[in-house]
Symmetry: C2
DNA sequence: ATTTAATCAGACATTTTTATCTGATTTTAT
DNA sequence: ATAAAATCAGATAAAAATGTCTGATTAAAT
């Protein structure tokens, strides 16, 4: 199967966007996120825990507890989620899997892929979560 | 882990490029491919078998048998290998993992990713294996 | 003919990813 | 105080990807 990001990472990005789409300061439960985004409850729960450990989101325990962004949505980017979950290795590796792929020993698509990789990186860094979330609201409102 | 193509697919592309780099008509053993490309022997053997079933390469059994391209390198593209091994799903799926991601219900990076996906597709279709192999020769000669 | 070196087929094993379970702890609301 | 609803931690399970093994078959070389 061909994939860009792991399921964990996809779900993590969706969850962070969802948290941003909710009022600032509001606590959102793993259960709600699970239902809205259709992610297995215990699985998204684990992902949220790891994002908390990474410092991207924060949580409070107990009844009416839940999760919220750890900082302003204007200071979080998708790349932060990718870095926290999948890591940034893909932005430094050969698309054909050659181990020594470098400017002096490039693979046949080295330059093309280099450009695409950079553009992908830009996609994840150019806009912050608060801008991106606007474009996600229609998905969320259709609960 | 973040990945574009599966290991199978990466190895498959490398193997096809290697076959193209060898003289036309020459039979290359799985053992040689394994050693040169540093891919586990039995694993690459399976990949070669599946590429044969897909019709991209052909094989002959018995002593001094081996593999060769099933047709001219000028008629094979990397996308053919991807299609045979990983399939083309990635060129029709949401990078954030949203199930219903469409022009009418786009994810926040829908258009950007759409463009990148197209460019990636182009990278795999614009040149044939015989052109690409030239750029791989330096890797192979350093055995 | 026999040996040798290769593919082939299918089962098996390991590792990683994805997902679930169990129970403990925390906090709010009654 | 007690019940309810949430996170948390760690073990477990299931599925998919990656890798290995065994033996059969084939065909060239001796």
């Amino acid at each position: 199967m061909t994939v860009i990001f792991s399921k964990k990472c996809e779900y993590g990005m969706q969850a962070v966007l969802y948290l941003a789409a909710r009022e600032k300061g509001t606590l959102v439960s793993a259960d709600e996120i699970s239902k809205v985004l259709k992610i297995p409850r215990e699985f998204v729960s684990k992902i949220l825990q790891s994002l908390r450990e990474s410092g991207l989101i924060s949580s409070s325990k107990g009844k009416s507890g839940g999760f919220s962004l750890a900082k302003s949505a204007s200071r979080i980017k998708l790349i932060d989620v990718v870095a926290a979950i999948d890591g940034l290795d893909m932005f430094d590796s050969c698309v054909l899997g050659f181990q020594e792929c470098s400017p002096t020993h490039p693979c046949p698509v080295h330059n093309t892929w280099g450009s695409l990789r950079t553009q992908t990186y830009d996609m994840l860094t150019s806009e912050t979560i608060d801008k991106l979330k606007e474009k996600t609201l229609h998905k969320i409102s259709s609960l």
